[in-house]
Amino acid sequence: MPQTVEKILDHSQLFNEPEYQELFERKKQFECGSSLEEIAKQSAYINTWEYREKNLAREALTVNPAKACQPLGALFASVGFEKTLAFNHGSQGCTAYFRSHLARHFKEPCAAVSTSMTEDAAVFGGMNNLIEGLQNAYTVYKPKMIAISTTCIAEVIGDDLTAYVQNARLKGAIPQDFPIVKANTPSFVGSHVNGYDVLVKGVLVNFWDGKTRGEVTEKINIIPGFDGFAVGNNRELKRIFGEFGVDLTIISDVSDQFDTPTDGEYRMFDGGTTIEQVEEAINAKGTISMQKYCSDKALDFISATGQPTASFHYPMGLKATDDLLMKISELTGKPIPASLEKERGRLVDAMADSSNWLHGKSYSIFGDPDFVYGMTQFLLETGGEPVHLLATNGGKEWEAEMKALLATSPYGAKAQVWAGKDLWAMRSLLATEPSDFLIGSSYGKYLERDLGIPLIRLTFPIFDRHHHHRFPTWGYQGSLRVLVTVLDKILDVLDAQTSKTGISFDLVR
């Protein structure tokens, strides 16, 4: 009997006990599984170049994609505005999934409502659901704003959000002047990064449309983009701008919403960009997007008002942070503060101290297009050599930008860029052309297990480790943390590799 009161074994150990191993053996006879020979043959085959070619030739089948769908990004952007209720028009299962997905990453509640469309709504349209939903949501949750985004069913049947919302106002379900933002976010177009963009643009359109730029303020707007590290990163941005002495408006700031305290009170809403801030943002000196592929449409809209814009690719590391600070300085006319220059020196100091461990290490990276770009750029600065760079939701433009980046460094020579490929493709790539490390999200843990390539978790979603999102990855300080995360893995792996013989199991590294 494996279980005892003194040492209770759970799933992680219980099933390794002989009683359960024997049970598995007995079970096999009823499974009609493949023969051991077939399994061994196929297990070996999936690591070959021949399989890789077959695997990469797939045109219709997607396996283990590293992307989510538009409304998830829209929901994420929605809750970054003060007391804004994310409101999905479509089937209720979508909303349940978005909420769970974000809760699993942030270890935080994630509120959002659905119009719960069912078969009758599919036939007659979802207007009644939308109107009833708005009335209930407005009455019960008392938001300051409701941000509607659509899911598949509403898009496929062609529900007209503008007309329905108008009708809701006419029927008195919500007050005439109650702010409602709309975003069309079908899941069969783009990915979560586009949904983020559409929602942010929707907010700006709602509050800026028909207005022109007035007297320019001293403020700078920042659109952070979809970012699993938003809690740490947005706060780091505020600190950096504080050093500059520049007022900052983060357009969609989720840093408080996804980091509420446990103090006895559940806050359905916390923090976020206020409507007044959004309204004022039209007169800012400029808007900086931290992630270009999360903000194409929003930036076009902002540019059209005559406001200067600039965009980055998830700026990590030295040059990316330098460029960000110089851009802030350029837009505001303020010099880069000495305190930040000192931080820069500290990052260089850390990179120098650890350079002998970092130089020449090879990495494969997957994630959203901006993240993969920013991560690659930083690793090149450490003498790291990227191998496979993959974004399931990356396109031709991204691929070209990546290749241009790689061409700037001798360490980029070996790298291959994989736009639109999934993580089962990555498996073949790593099986045939391995790298020392893999950088990505928790989804990479299967690759780590199957191929023995250590995974460094540095992008959304991180389900199986806690609290990383509370720390920044942007700016010199954030970069320092990224550096330490990578370095810890390198040295942990080295210790594990050398612990058996003791040779090279050194106390000082």
């Binding site: 279980q3 009161v5 209770i8 759970d10 799933h11 219980l14 099933f15 359960y20 049970l23 598995f24 079970k27 096999k28 009823f30 599984g33 196929q42 297990s43 797939r58 219709a60 089948l61 997607t62 283990n64 989510a68 769908c69 209720q92 299962g93 979508c94 349940a96 999934y97 769970s100 809760a103 935080e108 509640p109 959002a112 409502v113 119009t115 469309m117 069912t118 659901n129 939308l130 009833e132 939903g133 009335q135 209930n136 949501a137 019960v140 949750y141 899911t151 598949c152 079908p186 899941s187 069969f188 177009v189 990915s191 446990t262 103090d263 006895g264 009170e265 559940y266 359905m268 089962w424």
Partner: protein, 482 residues
């Protein structure tokens, strides 16, 4: 419960309902009740459409069909057919453990396989793409024993004929291809997805099962485990008891299950069903068509385990009956030890539950075993037969809610201040903010198994670590006002 307390609970319900618009309050009132001892059901309406905008906790038919019933079948490739999201969010989230499977070679449970619909697939239809997806699955996953097509919302709206594609491709590849019409807009919750999933399993595997091979030797003790999804290994810690009492488990449906085990189905002498809600349909069918009787059992906590073992054994001969007694006796010292250790720490603690198919009632006596008291409970997607069965478990005055909204749950937690809440990931963190301990009772909060005697030990340990962790006394700053 005394009349005064009961009246207070009724007032609490009225207060919460009063926050809704009138029409909504009227609708929701039918789903919430304070249970009266002796009533034949819980006095709540169920299996009705959720109200838009109130933040229901429910999911959809796809979640019920792919996420619950089909997804755990390990040697099939399950295509999330449609856009990328549904498959992405349900990817490896239910902890359906697998024995003896090589991921991507003989098992696909922890993989996300999708046709990733693009706009052109919506405009021109997805059938051609589906056919190609099947070909590509065959090319890169040749050892699969079958394929399921789990339809997402758009598929049912654009007039695709996945049944025709399945039929054509089945002929070509000679394996089962099961088209499951589980679009998320069908029905009112996960529940219809379960039903649809059962029906497709019936039509495409069970009723088409080939005759037993010549090497197959039937025994009078052949049983199936039905409606156990092996979350955290639950089906294994159940199976071990059934085998120890002398039964032969010829299939697990569907946790750690295989096509072979589903095809074994018609040869069973008895179906043992754990999650009644999600798989009663197939049991009824097998009873009708193959004459296989079925019995519900409950392997949560020693009281119910012993009761179930005896009830199952009563349907067999004396050998098995003696086997059941032997098993109960064997584990008694373990049970006594666990109770001695944990009951004093948990005695009198109140728990509030809000879960899915069977747990709002099934875990009730397990809590009773460790001295805890279920003060409120409810289901996301139950039917009236579930609420009838629930009366066997709950006490007078228990607050019962059906398809509760987050708003209602928050207010009930605030007012009742239970010592523990058991619900899902969406409810977990908000509850903890209030300083109330929480256990996810869908995923066992990344623990488990909870079934069987081995599982009960873990269950008791987990409830103790949740309720008695020092952090729950820390949420008020020492300088704050009471």
């Amino acid at each position: 419960m005394d009349a005064e307390s009961k009246a207070a609970r009724k007032q609490l319900v009225a207060d919460v309902l009063s926050e809704y618009p009138e029409k909504t309050a009227k609708k929701r009132a039918k789903h919430i009740n304070v249970y009266e001892e002796g009533a034949s059901d819980c006095g709540v309406k169920s299996n009705i459409k959720s109200i838009p905008g109130v933040m229901t906790v429910r999911g959809c038919a796809y979640a019920g069909a792919k996420g619950v019933v089909w997804g755990p079948i390990k040697d099939m490739v399950h295509i999330s057919h449609g856009p990328v999201g549904c498959g992405q969010y349900s990817w490896a989230q239910r902890r359906n453990y697998v024995s003896d499977g090589v991921t991507g070679v003989t098992s696909w449970v922890t993989m996300q396989v999708t046709s990733d619909f693009q706009e052109k697939d919506i405009v021109f239809g997805g059938d051609k793409k589906l056919a190609k997806v099947v070909d590509e699955i065959e090319a890169i996953f040749p050892l699969n024993k079958g394929i399921s097509v789990m339809s997402e919302c758009p598929v049912g709206l654009i007039g695709d004929d996945i049944e025709a594609v399945a039929k054509k491709k089945t002929k070509e590849i000679g394996k089962v291809i099961a088209p499951v019409r589980c679009e998320g807009f069908r029905g009112v919750s996960q529940s219809l997805g379960h039903h649809i999933a059962n029906d497709v399993m019936r039509d495409y595997i069970v009723d088409k099962a080939p005759p037993a091979p010549e090497t197959w030797v039937s025994t009078p003790y052949d049983v199936l485990i039905v409606g156990d999804y092996n979350i955290g290994g639950d089906a294994w810690s159940s199976r071990i008891l059934l085998e120890e009492m002398g039964l032969r488990v010829i299939g697990q449906w569907s946790g750690d299950g295989s096509v072979g085990e589903i095809e074994n189905g018609p040869r069973a002498k008895l179906n043992l069903i754990h999650c009644y809600r999600s798989m009663n349909y197939i049991c009824r069918h097998m009873e009708e068509k193959y004459g296989i009787p079925w019995i519900e059992y409950n392997f949560f906590g020693p009281s119910q385990i012993a009761k179930s073992l005896r009830a199952i054994a009563a349907l067999f001969d004396e050998t098995i009956q003696a086997g059941a007694e032997r098993v109960i006796a064997k584990y008694k010292p373990l049970v006594d030890g666990i109770l001695a250790k944990y009951k004093p720490r948990l005695e009198g603690k109140k728990i509030m539950l809000y879960v899915g198919g069977l747990r709002p009632r099934h875990v009730s006596d397990a809590y009773g075993d460790i001295g805890m008291d279920v003060t409120a409970t409810g289901y996301e997607f139950a039917h009236s037969d579930d609420y009838q069965r629930t009366t066997e478990y709950i006490k007078d005055g228990t607050l019962v809610y059906d398809d509760a909204s987050e708003f209602e749950l928050e207010h009930f937690v605030k007012a009742l201040r239970p010592d523990l809440v058991g619900s899902g990931i969406k409810e977990k963190y908000g509850t903890q903010k209030m300083g109330v301990p929480f256990r996810q009772m869908h995923s066992w909060d990344y623990s488990g198994p909870y079934h069987g005697y081995d599982g009960f030990a873990i269950f008791a340990r987990d409830m103790d670590l949740a309720v008695n962790n020092p952090v729950w006394k820390m949420h008020k700053a020492p300088w704050g006002k009471e």
